[in-house]
């Protein structure tokens, strides 16, 4: 290659997956209606149209197969309880008066200015961790990550004046995740979701008591992954998930939108895109080849469930979900094999050994 060409090549603007996102002109904010959990209800072209995650469980449960027994399934389902039944956790308004309490005192708005904003920001992070979060970062509110509609096509209108998003990560149990793809590992996901309900609802109430607005969210309302990237929690990996330096993608995400004045975190770049370019462990291990083997990221998408116009390795989520339905529950294989998960987690645990360890602890 001539020196001139080499120089031109080096000066060419480098496309980045994250922490800076490269967006094309055809990028549009995503509608949750198009997500896999939205499409399963209406997209007749989808192979798993109206096939829900637990539909095949009666045929799958097998007392002879480790990780696929009734105990494993019950554990996975039960772990979702707080998330699934405490729906007020995600209320956009202050929660109503509790049954067994006096009416709340109405405090003045807690004053935040240049002098105390740093302390307030650190307090918010400390409180979030006290409620059970393992990671907290704060990003400026960016409208482009907010869903245009929810799963049932209701438009989402974020109130005016939201300035920040508190991105929260709850690290999932390493032992449990390492039993993937078994039903047992569904316990780690379910626990993550129940934890998120507790954390965001409590944090939102804390912020409201200080006189500011707070909108607690799980997977709903906005894309959690780019928000977590903007808040400095990690980067996007080949498997399409938020990947952190110390726990890989073994992190469940949630977020709280607020108008409370807060300082914003810097994004982090720990070289994940370079790493993922050279590592295809997740693609090889994926139970249904839903993860790209492409050497380079691109703007390629597989279905309407991929947000268009974003440079990355898109995941074939239709294939991913198809395995979930045949597996009788979620799968975390791409999480468990990631070298960044292995910095604090485990590669594979036979569900029999998982239970042996748990029972021995009693």
């Amino acid at each position: 290659m001539s020196d001139v060409k080499k120089k031109e090549g080096k000066n060419k603007k480098k496309l980045t997956v994250s922490p800076e996102f490269t967006l094309k002109d055809d990028f549009e904010p995503f509608s949750e209606y198009d997500s896999i959990f939205g499409r399963v209800n209406w997209d007749e072209k989808m192979k798993t149209y109206k096939v829900y995650m637990y539909d095949k469980v009666p045929d799958i449960l097998d007392e002879e197969q480790p990780g696929y027994t009734q105990i494993d399934h019950a554990l996975a389902i039960a772990s979702w309880t707080v998330h699934d039944y405490f729906r007020r956790a995600f209320s956009w308004e202050k929660l109503a008066k509790p049954n067994n309490m006096m009416p709340d005192a109405l405090p003045e708005v807690y004053k935040i200015d240049e002098k105390n904003i740093d302390k307030v920001t650190r307090t918010i992070k400390a409180v979030t961790k006290s409620f059970g979060a393992d990671m907290v970062g704060i990003a400026p509110y960016d409208k482009k990550w907010t869903y245009t509609e929810d799963r049932v096509e209701t438009p989402i209108e974020m109130p005016e004046g939201m300035t920040s998003v508190i991105a929260i990560g709850a690290v999932m149990d390493a032992d449990t995740i390492s039993t993937s793809p078994s039903m047992t590992q569904g316990f780690a996901s379910g626990m993550g979701y129940s934890q998120m309900a507790f954390i965001v609802s409590s944090l939102a109430e804390f912020i409201r008591k200080l006189g500011y607005r707070a909108i607690p969210t799980g997977n709903d309302t906005a894309l959690s992954i780019p928000i977590a990237v903007d808040a400095g929690l990690g980067q996007v990996g080949r498997n399409g998930l938020l990947t952190t330096r110390d726990h890989g993608a073994r992190v469940r995400l949630c977020k709280v939108f607020t108008d409370m004045p807060l300082l914003h975190d810097e994004k982090v770049d720990f070289g994940l895109t370079d790493y993922c370019r050279k590592c295809k462990r997740c693609a090889e291990a994926c139970e249904n080849e839903a993860i790209s083997f492409d050497d380079e990221p691109s703007f390629k998408t597989y279905s309407d469930s991929n947000n268009k116009g974003i440079y990355r390795w898109a995941v074939n989520v239709d294939k991913c979900y198809e395995f979930w339905t045949d597996n009788g529950g979620e799968c975390s294989t791409c999480i468990s094999v990631c070298p960044f998960n292995l910095r604090s987690g485990l590669r594979f645990t036979d569900p029999r050994d998982y239970w042996k360890k748990r029972l021995a602890e009693q």
Binding site: I60, R245, F270, G271, K278, E287, E289, D326, G328
Partner: protein
Amino acid sequence: MSTKTTSIEEELFKLIEQELSRPNYIVEPFVQKNKEEVGEIILRLVQNEKLAENLILLSIIYRQVLPYLEDEHYIPILTTIMQYDKLDSRICFQTIQRLGWRATKAQEAIPFIVKYLGEKQGIGDVAAIALGEMEYDKFENLIPGLLSALKNAAYYGTRMNAARILIKNKEHLESVLPKLIEALESDEDFRLRQKIARNFGEINNSKVKKALLKAHKNDKHPVVRTVAKTSLDDLEKLT
């Protein structure tokens, strides 16, 4: 060598030394900041074949340095290591695997990987898989190695990769189908069996259909039975 490069080299080895005494992933952020220079330094370092004897140093380089280098250094470094006369089997395995992951971009390494076909300790298996990824033009020469990996590899992931490469190569699929069916029927790991069953949903062939029916009815693992049913439904749509 410029003063800058010398000081980067000194700093790099200082960090590696610290990492040797207490693993803390302190090398990688430094590499990310100095990719170009570190790439040159490691490329020079690997010219000395004695490096092969220092397994701990190599393991830090593999984990914390190489993943962050650009291909212009990454591939020549691994290709140089592949040419060592004596190479620890684990390092050899990892080197071949990483070159395979770079697929067609690492084709310059093909001649040095081919010689490992048929090698023991899983190296022949990973060599066949890597060459498959790299689109080696004599695919038929890889088939014995891939079939051996499919049947004998100790790690289920290696068997799964062998199956994937065999299925991907449509030209030779007919000849390897009996072995894939055998793996579907008898591999001890349900993850491999379900993956073959899943892939069979795209192969419209009577033998495949028969194998899927058998798996649907008789496989001892429920996930394989369920996937086989899904694949049978897929095949039904194809006909």
